[in-house]
Symmetry: C2
Subunit: 683 residues, 2 copies
Amino acid sequence: MVSSSQLANAIRALAMDAVQQANSGHPGAPMGMADMAAALWTRHLKHNPSNPQWFDRDRFVLSNGHASMLLYAVLHLSGYDLPVAELKNFRQLHSKTPGHPEFGYTAGVETTTGPLGQGITNAVGFALAEKLMAAEFNRDGHAIVDHHTYAFLGDGCLMEGISHEAAALASAWKLNKLVALYDDNGISIDGPVSPWFVDDTPARFRAYGWNVIGPVDGHDAEAIAAALTSAKTSATAPTLIVCKTAIGKGSPNRAGTAKAHGEPLGAAEIELTRAALEWTSVPFDIPADIQAAWDAKEAGAKAEAEWQKRFDAYTAAHPALAAEFTRRMKGELPKHFAQTAVDAAVAAHTKAETVASRKASQIALEAFTAALPELLGGSADLTGSNLTNTSSTPPLRIDETGAVVLGNTAAGLPVIGRHINYGVREFGMAAIMNGVALHGGYIPYGGTFLTFSDYSRNAIRMAALMKQRVIHVFTHDSIGLGEDGPTHQSVEHAASLRLIPNLDVWRPADTAETTVAWAVSLENTTRPSALLLSRQNLPYLPKRDLGDISRGAYVLSEPSDVGIKKKAQAVIVATGSEVHLAIKAQEILARAKIAVRVVSVPSTTVFDRQDVAYKKSVLPAGIPRVAIEAGVTDGWWKYGCDAVIGLDRYGESAPANVLFPLFGFTAENLADTVRKVLSQKSR
Amino acid sequence: MVSSSQLANAIRALAMDAVQQANSGHPGAPMGMADMAAALWTRHLKHNPSNPQWFDRDRFVLSNGHASMLLYAVLHLSGYDLPVAELKNFRQLHSKTPGHPEFGYTAGVETTTGPLGQGITNAVGFALAEKLMAAEFNRDGHAIVDHHTYAFLGDGCLMEGISHEAAALASAWKLNKLVALYDDNGISIDGPVSPWFVDDTPARFRAYGWNVIGPVDGHDAEAIAAALTSAKTSATAPTLIVCKTAIGKGSPNRAGTAKAHGEPLGAAEIELTRAALEWTSVPFDIPADIQAAWDAKEAGAKAEAEWQKRFDAYTAAHPALAAEFTRRMKGELPKHFAQTAVDAAVAAHTKAETVASRKASQIALEAFTAALPELLGGSADLTGSNLTNTSSTPPLRIDETGAVVLGNTAAGLPVIGRHINYGVREFGMAAIMNGVALHGGYIPYGGTFLTFSDYSRNAIRMAALMKQRVIHVFTHDSIGLGEDGPTHQSVEHAASLRLIPNLDVWRPADTAETTVAWAVSLENTTRPSALLLSRQNLPYLPKRDLGDISRGAYVLSEPSDVGIKKKAQAVIVATGSEVHLAIKAQEILARAKIAVRVVSVPSTTVFDRQDVAYKKSVLPAGIPRVAIEAGVTDGWWKYGCDAVIGLDRYGESAPANVLFPLFGFTAENLADTVRKVLSQKSR
């Protein structure tokens, strides 16, 4: 009979050996949490190593991602497609065992973790998605959505501010199927934490309304397993299990010290640890009985088969729902969406309304939220400003029993609250949206002011790194915000978001561009998008057709459109609220017989992916280019501009119509700049 | 006799009238907190309206900065230089009453607030600086540093994650002279907060170890004043006073509703409010008796005079300390610092060591922390990685009585712990540093990994907006971080920090450049700086002299330095860890008789401020330019580059020496790129 300690020691041995082999990594946390992992993974976790995509598996999040070898060890031991060769290749190029767990690299890794505090927040998103999918799709006698979300987290995650936002929302939403296990080892990188971490964490979580269990002995698998059993009975509250552990447990000289955290134990200490653990196998070798005790393939296949049977019964009873469920979990848009998108763009074009682009966004969302029940919106306490809600997205509300408050559509589908009041928690919102997207079933979007994208920036980056379809609605996108002043006025944010690899950034100029930006963002399954929208009204810009908006930049107006028969002598490149100034400048210059093309650039990131021929057709070689955008100028020089009108300083508190001319954002100044560039070129 | 309510109603009247006049702003919070403000400002706050710079004044922070009219009202009423004309000009261009309180615009505004949660965190920095200055400078019988820090904050601040980081550190540091008043009105922008804010905030703060008072009736000035009296007796714990209020108090139809938050009441409701408050004065007019009751000029002058007498006695008893105190509070570096800086740079040049630039930073800090007792370092739990500590900066420790643990220098000056373990709290660290800098007496610096500048980004921006000397040490600045992988590898961060107006960004290439970067950052009193430093070793780069490093970019090597007598045919522009590749490429090209100049650019932001002549001397017109930096390429095109070698994607988890060649960061690839550019140009 294999003991719980032996199960845990298998993790310890693999972790210390892999870190030693890589001569890099973190042995302390995997060794400290080994008993917690053994208790959860061998006694509670519902999963099928042979099908890591099984929908109704429990989700496991390693929020303290530097403990990656713990996760790789349990995946390997449980029977996932992670052979020992990969463990031996820990932290090497293109291995399945990168330094921190990376979603998409390794079967069984549910989310990328490492930036502390975000994993537990992703887990809140997973648990929220599970709860909402259950509310939408389960029917009497058919509980097809019924899984837990487990997260491991450490002192570092709990010090991070985002842990506060995550914990508060988990409680507000009564996510009783979220179970967090706190690796309470009293050590962080700088040493024993008492001088800088004096929180009474159990009391803090009780203050949020969580069910707090423990402290339990984090090296007593029985105690942990019992705590997990108890956690699963929580009716309305998420659970925190406080596990008292020793970092580097098993290492005679390093256990309980900060030195165990981030460096290999060294050959000598590993030998001592082997002896202390009575672990006699050679590195990377697991005794057959221990391997067998870990192997979850058979139990996992059985669990999935049992679920499949239930899902088949559900399909028989509710065929339409089952089909919809399957589509939603695949992340496929309904077939009719392409037409919906075209119709919405054409409607915008036909109506040609003068509205703020945040309002244009709400108009587009009105159509798209009606067409896509998977759209799960929200705002960080700025709903009325971000305009992220629509008539088909009532606010999410949870009743006292923990149930999602439901309405009904005419078609008989229950409607959950699909617009989330995240509170003033931008970072939490972004990381929760990442968890929702990773779980599947929903396309999350959420709003705040563009300036506060600073607060959520690393979570936006994580979505881009993980290739997740998460849509950020950032309104009040410039000095156009006006009186709230420089603390709230974005200056560098558009340029700075464009630097995040694999993030699409849109700054549309009118209703049609905004609608297309939404459609492209929704159709884009491999990256997040950010929509930068104005507070102030923007005139509709007449255009011949809508086709090229989706290419990120297009010729909005040619000299011939303003009665000039010459070929363009210069190109004005503009985005968002400055495009109409470009059109006016074109008219001013036309009166002086200067022929100008206006290129609208709703998305530089999308345009940068177009083929060279298209790029050249929009920005022909040899013609001077002048860019205008109400923000920092740095990013525009790569387009070979001869001049850029922008704002390389902070704004001021004053009405928007005072600020634009103050900082040179006028058609006259733009026209003068074009003239100046032309005269320099002709010299 | 003027009643407390009348004092508060003066605030209410000014707030609703100014917002109405501007047709923009937030009346609800000022009206709701008016009684709190009256109790604090007329009964407790130690301040002198005639000298807002008086060192020993209490600091007041309005963390919910949208309530700016509350602050403007009490400043005006108390007798600060804020005439009624400025109140009438609320939120207009170049007024002293911008939409949110802006440090430097308005006498008596201690910090810029608006981005929620940061004000209370600044307040922690104020209180920390007070405590440390007291520990350093007070002597028996001479308590020259003895003031409180008061903060108002609302639900929004408490939802933000940073409030968790701030509260935890305030408790760890036993900041008993910090008193926060919570405007507990149960309303945020999206409405009554109960669906998204279920925290038991008093219990949460008790879990941190705070002294929690209340809830008290936030409209009962007596109760608030009594709570403040009690708060001042707290021996070791910071205090939270929970004040139950109604937002928009006084407005018959808007009070207690979200509608009171962010829009003018309107003329009709203002009339009703005037009637309800029995406020008969015309807009902006304050009855003489109420004005007199508010006037704090006489009491303030008396308080300062009393302190000045004590300071004179201190000066007589401890003349050297008094002089040092005065220098420190002025923010002036000691006269010898210029020489210290030169010596340190020359020493680096002479030793020509091959070390990581993070180590070079520590070497520079070793000299500078010895020379500057005002340097107050720290790290967000990465001390051993950031190398922010030195032999003269022991860790900050607080004993059980709340006293700062002291040592002694040979010179007899007590030494406080000058290196702060901030824990894993990057955003909190940054905003606390802002508060420390604003308080005066210290130059704060703090470290984390460059990637996690994302977490603190908005606080970095706030330091730049407020023109505060705060120095960020961002180590592990690229894929050179290696095995920790893409979650930890900065790609876009150097470029993205350079976009923040008024922030200096340094990415030095060797020990001399790092030393100069530190010196310039310390001498720069009107902006924050960020030092981007390598994890990996960098060779020393021979140079003729050190003079031009401080200009941000300089000619490091001419063709003649590698034996080529021609004038340069191309310029290679490089930063940080890539400069030595440029030198090697120069040598490779020299062997093919291609003459190349190497320009090292430790700081683009500093270089951008140089005069045109210097810029042209470094980057002469008409010669092709190739840039290389291990990060996104966008920012380099503004220098007229013909090619940029960079990384417009995420990195990988692998050793650094595998990653650099993988992504093209080799001298050979750089040399080939120069050849290619030259051949294109010659076509």
